[in-house]
Subunit: 298 residues, 2 copies
């Protein structure tokens, strides 16, 4: 049975997010603080919510998928901490608060990121240890963990981050931009959904339909973000808007203009909705989610 709305899942994630971190020796309390600082900075929890909702959509229980949902947030958060470093995007502010390296220094921020990435796999591995006598449950978990590792890794999110820094201050085609988006944002979003489906025991057909939904959602999410960067106000988003323009960073909007971007967002939203049309009421959560993205940009 799926939860009524996004916030119920967010609450569940927030309740366990810090508790699931490996217990840290008191001598490393600054590391723990630095990790917690960025973890609890009030993210939207999109990836973990998608994982939990997908697990339930496929017939599983959200509670059993929590280690994987937390792992998604650890991975997403580490990527933001490293992304904000002076050698990458050099951001001082995120979600209205000073970035990790501003508070803890660059060395500690680098290690907090490393620690979070490692913790993601530690927490998933630890969960597997609870099912060493149950082959069916192990299969689900190994598939979920592998899916997440692929999405986060050098064929996924890391590849996207690389292309992103390589594309700075250079002309960038729509094709290249889509490659960046598909990897930097899309890969982890798709991995979250697929991992949740594995954990819930989805069949091949559901896996295929939801993967198509996920890929459209991922791209829509990034384009919506680009649009908001132009039309949003600084206050509302808690970060500097127009930052992309200032950095001369190519976005879907700088390449194609605001109207074409909104049209593209609409197309992707429709594709996502169509991909899960066969599931009627059960897919309401996912339909509402992608439609909300489009609304945010109006």
């Amino acid at each position: 049975m799926m939860k009524e709305n996004f916030d119920e899942y967010v609450e569940l994630v927030n309740e366990y997010l810090v508790d699931y971190l490996p217990r840290i020796d008191s001598k490393s309390s600054t590391l723990y603080d630095a990790m917690k600082y960025s973890l609890t900075a009030g993210g939207k929890r999109l990836r973990s919510v998608l994982l939990l909702a997908s697990c339930e959509f496929a017939g599983g229980k959200a509670q059993t998928a929590l280690p994987y949902a937390c792992a998604m947030e650890y991975i997403h958060t580490y990527s933001l901490i490293h992304d904000d470093l002076p050698c990458m995007d050099n951001d001082d502010l995120r979600r209205g608060r000073p970035t990790n390296h501003i508070v803890y220094g660059e060395g500690m921020a680098t290690l907090a990121g490393d620690g979070l990435l490692n913790s993601a796999f530690e927490v998933m591995n630890k969960d597997m240890l609870l099912y060493l006598d149950n082959l069916d449950e192990l299969k689900k978990r190994i598939n979920a963990s592998y899916t997440i590792s692929k999405g986060a890794g050098v064929r996924g999110m890391v590849a996207g981050q690389v292309s992103d820094i390589e594309a700075e201050n250079k002309p960038c085609s729509n094709e290249m931009l889509e490659y960046i988006h598909l990897n930097k944002t899309g890969a982890l979003i798709t991995a979250a959904i697929r991992a949740g489906l594995y954990l819930g025991g989805a069949d091949d057909e559901m896996m295929a339909d939801m993967t198509e939904y996920a890929e459209n959602l991922g791209l829509a999410y990034q384009i919506a973000d680009d649009i908001l960067d132009v039309i949003g106000s600084e206050e509302e988003l808690g970060k500097k808007t127009g930052a992309d323009q200032l950095m001369e960073k190519t976005t879907y909007v700088t390449l194609n203009g605001l109207e074409a971007s909104k049209a593209k967002l609409h197309e992707l939203t429709q594709n996502a909705v169509d991909a899960i049309a066969d599931y009627y009421d059960n897919a309401e959560f996912f339909r509402d989610l992608v439609l909300m993205l489009e609304t945010r940009t109006k």
Copy 2:
């Protein structure tokens, strides 16, 4: 049947090390180059060799443990790349070659490290997928992977790196220094041995004895390194010696002097040898290894 010597294991690791990396899209070729650059910089392969040898010591086959051995090298290499960054140890030279960020820039070096850490778990997870119908083999692999994640993580290597940067330019006690060493170097060495034992199917007694061996080896290895930093020549080691002194970094030698350090190294070596005394000829490889460390410093 264990191999005759260290170099045979090194050859096996080097043969597969790059091949086991996830296939990377041609658009990310610089990332791939950066990862390969540090992976193939001629490390000693201590951790991967220990894993393979421990697997065989427990009765397993080295070939089946290769994904985990490569994962150890990915993790060790990522930690070196991040350690060398200007915000950490700020080293320009490692193993006689310019460090990763000198060649590829800081942003790419950070991502190459992230990519390697992620690849470690990706390659182990992928290996598990091959055994989804074999609960016994899965147990070994999940235990090995969890052991590695713990040793590399916030209660292991990352904790050691944190304490290391926090201890810089500050008075440091022997107790604190041992904490740093146990975590920064020792945790991953112990994890390598224990992971290998799991993969080979070791019993509890062997696990306990070899863990004691590993913990003494890990500390001995670091103290031997500190001694070499003082007595070694720059040419032989391919990195600047006396660097620790120059950075006013506390080492076992700066705290206790050369003679006391050699005495401590001798004591740890004896402890390690004693821990595996019951295994007679079978443990020759491990006995020779720790004795060799002591010899290097004379």
